[in-house]
Symmetry: C2
Subunit: 394 residues, 2 copies
């Protein structure tokens, strides 16, 4: 019989998608260039030409049995080794190829990570504001996602609330830094305190607590800062990565899970991913994309537009009276709305063709997300719309 | 805590993989060209150059935001429409684009199909001999795979055994024609009788029974015959397809689920696949491969080598006294071993560097699989090894 569970999900609507569809429809009326569409987190810069060149080279001169042939289910060994070497070089880690499991993007990585370290009924904690897709991602595994309230002053971790919710049922904690939707980057101090708390609670409960780190925005950081690499702070860390944002190729569906070797079980966990794959039909990402990213994994697309856009928006919006935690990375920011009801606020913004996503589905009512992965010209033109909006409505 | 379920799976060994590893090791000793490696079902012919040309054209001249950008989670609309049109033209169906859900190969397609029409605890029936990966594919969804004994005379369906096992707990039936490992093609008569039985049992039980048709070998058929298209025989059919074998690109991970519109719920089911994806981390196959196969979906690689190989092996092995149901397609055949214990038989064959997979894991002890997706020259040289093997051992 047709699955009741998935059928019932059809009626659920994504606020982000609805706003994006509205923006497209409005674009047909007034020209899409006149819609300040800040709804979707879709990279807006082209893929590096070196990546395309490598794809073409592989297609033209690679062994077709390698380029179009089955990849081993854990990933192509040489690819796993190159990724391990790149992570070791950049973040001072000690990965071997055997600790890396190749996936179809971060969604594929998370699907394996959740199943690796939780059983149905277990709890996974994450922190507001959070990417709303974590709800179906986790809940459909049979585990249960619970959300720790935000630390609104800085979008670091609200440790008091966290410690209260960190009960014996919790087997994994999910972090996302740099963060969608806030753009916040967890500081070394936050990560140290997080690791200390997890270690203490592991001892108290007598079972492991795994840290699942979703880090597709790792390379989009501002002010020339280095971002602390989460896994360095805690041995039982599963780093879930996607090249979608750093190389600007979300359609290529390529990422990985990297298991910290300090856990002592990294090879076993990476190998277990191959068993999980058999149940969820994942198998492995395309051989061609594996081979191509392996040769581009220290590279990025030209990501500077995101910082330019952030500064333009941050400066003007703070001048207009918005309270904003200044983003340390990503292409998002998460200001406080100018009225308590962010849904009403976002609705009013539509009158000025500003497409802003209310923070309710991110676990932070009263705030809103701006996804500024759009052209800088549009950002500049949107500032006047923000001025008119604020002046007329507040 | 680390998942006990997946950890326990690590100790399970695949006979096929073990034999393949043996073949590789033996190749290092005597030269791989001297190992008659019939273990793996891995396409041995190159991808059509038209496919590679299209990939390069898309990379060089396509809109990078389309070629490397997010695909909608159900697949790119124009791609779904082209595939529907191709199926309609070739098989007289009435698919619309909305009935097609794009997947990363047949494994991805099956993962969605099982979840669409069964709930944990439900039974899915399949028929021996069968692809052993169906066990984890089904059982890890929470449904339960049960295997109907083979009809050894023709590898069609053993209807007496099937009817006995077709109880009220059965919510789906899984067929694979042309079949791995037997190469058998279900006749129109078999499919008609199957459909009649399912229809009668649906009425008796008062619930739907869905037919899941795994058909990656659909285009590898012999003797110039047409293969009956399963979905034409039964309205509640989910056709799970992969381009891996027809276009010889298993590494490209591209396929689809096609839901028969005569079911009356095809658009809903294809759309539900997008919800299932959120839980299993699938999202969608690469945009680039979607775009490329859409323009090659009536095309095949040069598949003639498989028929050449089949005839050489079939003729010589029957002459040597093997009982074989002559394959109608695929690149497999499934002869009866020359002793009751096919494991012992395959072990003896190794002395002659013949790598043959015993049928036990396919649900048919006493038989063995030959995967003749190898060069014809090697097939010819293997015939002498078969002669020596049979003469010396039996």
């Amino acid at each position: 019989m047709i699955s009741k569970q998935y059928q019932s999900m059809l009626s659920g609507k994504s606020v982000i998608r609805e706003l994006s569809e509205y923006a497209t429809a409005r674009g047909h009326e007034i020209g899409y260039e006149n819609v300040f569409d800040y709804s979707l987190g879709n990279p807006s810069v082209p893929v590096p030409s070196a990546y395309n060149d490598r794809l073409i080279e592989l297609i033209q001169t690679g062994d077709p049995m390698l380029v179009h042939g089955y990849s081993p289910s854990l990933g192509i060994p040489a690819v796993r080794e190159k990724i391990a070497a790149s992570l070791n070089r950049r973040f001072g880690m000690n990965y071997k190829g055997e600790d890396i499991f190749m996936t179809s993007g971060a969604a594929g990585a998370l699907a394996h990570a959740f199943r690796l370290v939780t059983a149905p009924g277990d709890e996974i904690l994450t922190f507001a504001p959070f990417f709303p897709e974590y709800n179906p991602y986790v809940n459909l595994t049979g585990a249960r996602l619970r959300v720790v309230p935000a630390s609104f002053a800085d979008f670091q971790i609200n440790f008091d609330a966290f410690e209260q919710m960190l009960t014996e049922s919790v087997h994994a904690v999910l972090v996302n830094t740099p963060n969608n939707p806030s753009g916040a980057v967890y500081s070394a101090r936050t990560l140290t305190r997080l690791a200390e708390l997890l270690t203490a609670k592991e001892k108290q409960f007598g079972h492991d607590i795994w840290l699942i780190s979703d880090e597709p925005y790792r390379e989009i950081v501002f002010d020339g800062k280095d971002i602390p690499y989460v896994s360095r702070f805690y041995p039982r860390t599963l780093s879930c990565y996607s090249f979608s944002k750093s190389l600007s190729l979300p359609g290529d569906r390529i990422g990985y899970v990297a298991v910290n070797p300090a856990s002592g079980v990294s090879k076993m966990l990476a190998t277990m991913c191959g068993q999980i794959s058999r149940g969820i039909g994942h198998n492995c990402p395309t051989a061609l994309m594996q081979l191509a990213v392996a040769d581009c994994c220290g590279m990025t697309a030209d990501l500077s537009v995101y910082e330019t856009n952030m500064n333009l928006l941050y400066d003007e919006l703070t001048r207009l009276g918005f309270e904003i935690v200044r983003p340390g990375g990503t292409f998002y920011m998460f200001p406080k709305a100018l009225e308590a009801d962010a849904v009403a606020f976002s609705k009013k913004a539509l009158r000025y063709d500003l497409i802003l996503v209310p923070g309710d589905s991110f676990g932070a009512p009263g705030y809103f997300r701006i996804a500024y992965c759009v052209g800088t010209d549009k950002v500049k033109r949107s500032l006047e719309a923000f001025r008119r909006f604020v002046k007329a409505e507040y």
